[in-house]
Amino acid sequence: MSDFPDHNAGTATGASDTKKAKGATKQIRIALVGNPNSGKSSLFNALTGLNQKIANFPGVTVEKKSGFTTLIDSQGQHIKAEIIDLPGTYSLYPKSLDEQVPFRVLCDPDYMAAPDLVVVIADSTNLKRNLFLCSQIMDLKTPVVLALNMMDLIEVKGIKIDIERLAARLGIPIVPINARKGTGIAGLKSAMADFKFVDRPDFIDVRAFSPALIDGIRAMIDCHSDYAAFQAANNLHLIHYFQKRPEKAHQIETLVSTLDFDPFKAQASESLQRYEVITTIIKECQVGDSSKRTFSDRLDKILTHRIYGYAIFLSILFIVFQAIFSWATYPMYFIEGMFVDLSNATSALLPQGILNDLIVNGILAGLGGIVIFVPQIALLFFFIGILEDTGYMARVSFIMDKLMRKVGLNGKSVIPLIGGVACAVPSIMATRSIHGWKDRMITIMVIPLMSCSARLPVYALIISLVIPSTAILGIINLQGLVLMAMYLLGFVAALMAAWVMKKLIKGRERGYYIMEMPVYHAPRWSNIAIDIFDKVKVFLFDAGKVIIAISIILWALSSYGPTERMDAIDLKYNKLATSAAINSDSLQVARQADLLENSYAGIMGHWMEPAIRPLGYDWKIGIALLTSFAAREVFVGTMSTIYSANAESEDTQSVRAKLSAEINPQTGQKRYTAAVGISLMLFYAFAMQCMSTVAVVKRETRSWKWPLIQIAYLSVLAYISAFAAYNLLS
């Protein structure tokens, strides 16, 4: 329901009329609408600063950004304005999930939080296309203020716009702004404060298409304009108001069919007529046209060149990859160290016991596991922000689309996919720049197949255990070759999975590639900073909740077991400690291994042994598979605990020695043969063993359906390939 009880949407009451009635600060709701690339997010940031919150639009999986600003009208009255940033769109007719939001907010009588005022932001270098949307919104009889952005650019292009004349012609206040530099914002804010609705003749007479239909709909629902009724007839199935009132929807459908009204034809004629009117207006108010694009053109020649284009793109990928793979490790070490110190301090401060253990090994461990991702997320979004904001991302799509489309992906999937080699978590968040719903889902579903950096310690341990360090052709190290093969395998598996999903997932909407190639410009650092801040915040608070919960469950499973077993272990080691002169350190290590074996996780390991025996694993590996769900690299730590490797130094050497000495009681041979090792590596290559990824997929798809499907298909893939490898090799 509405946050504002005094809200009166769509009526002709202006801000200055109502405020006299009340002494308190008035509140209004303002929607920000505009074409993509029109500078809408810059304007939103300039209006609200860091005072933003991210929620969800009801009923759709589209993010809703809103924020507050204070406006002061010409009488000095303060108005608290909630600014809602609606997804960029070219017209009111929704073509994608994102575009349904502006349509619903403005045209659905069921949407309770309808705005009192719409601020349309238009790119003044392309007035014609931008006024198309503006005129549609004006025909809904909603109060509109037009912000003309990029006025500095039109001067360069030799265009002149007579703003006063345009404002008189359109009948709405127009404020020239420069959203990048933040100029003109004060003027825009006062225009927003003093907004009032002035009725003007419709741009086009939609009633003429079918008077009986428009009148019929207007008699049936409370809408303020012929155009709203026309939109209702054209997009009936998208309007929640009618979904809740099927009898009314049915009445309109009958009306549409008896009157032989063709929504496609009507929309097409509307577009044509609308452009005619706009072209006439522009001719009166604008001198010159915007066909000059020399700088961007020259740059495009290089950046989309068949050799330089790909070379430059590869170099950029390399830098991004370097950054998230290696530069991020420094702040990550720092965060890790911080949490170790914090855990030690907490552990020392609190009395020993369950609470201490829960806080240190459950909650703090989970928190540390979340915060550790922040450097990678920040760095990836720093680069993606630059690539998007400069306009380069549209060129990446342009040169990569044909290749990626073959496997059901899209030109924009490349960066998230490559980012997956460092970490799936920020990469899945980065899929938001992919517009088609289906393309985005496929990209999210296959990213975890890319070999992320957490698999590296697992691969390193197993390769050193089962692959001899022999040289091939004198120079190539076999171990290195196998490691590279694992990375390649992930990439190929991702492409193949994408190809299969392309066939399986049904598109919810018709996919378009049609996309504006924006003019290049310098990145807006403040926008990028705010975006990084938002992404980190969303990850910490949304995905964080799930991660902490899973972390606590895993902690409980591996620290607790049936009381009688735990008591028996206590008794055994207490006796040993008092009786013999055994080194107390090694006793402690052996005790830890015993405790883990008899914990619930250990019992589950034993319990799942029959299921994993065909892959060549025993219950010990079973426990490691379970605890690895916290993060894949936990495998190494768990193995070292189980095998009572020196827990003080979790270094690979000591674990490796223990694993290498392990004998399989059935065969009398070494437990870790090449067959077991490769089977294990394949399992880690494919299985969805990362709770952070699960949490972030849930956050990004806004349902448990997709992460569950993902866990299922990756588990099947992991099991089958590990099974095949083990049985073929042994």
Binding site: Y93, R129, A268, T304, Y310, R510
Partner: protein
């Protein structure tokens, strides 16, 4: 090449211009029109992606990129 000949936008080579005549796909035409491709307007193929698809056209004062199958729904007459 004096006579006016109908061609599909996807058949134009780089640098070629044409005048939008009509569309062959009604759903696609709605999207194209809201992006500024209006019958009667001139389009110029500005660039073709290195792999032959998509293409970038100059229309309505800006650059629009679209796939060839999308461009093939636009019928143009030569200028």
């Amino acid at each position: 090449m004096g006579q006016k000949e109908n061609r599909l936008l996807s058949q134009l080579t780089r640098g070629e211009k044409g005048k939008i005549s009509h569309f062959t796909d009604s759903l696609m035409s709605l999207k194209l029109m809201e992006m500024g491709c209006i019958p009667g307007d001139f389009v110029e193929v500005q660039r073709i992606a290195p792999l032959g698809d998509p293409i970038a056209i100059h229309v309505s004062g800006y650059t629009l990129s679209l796939r060839k199958d999308e461009a093939s729904t636009i019928v143009v007459t030569e200028k």
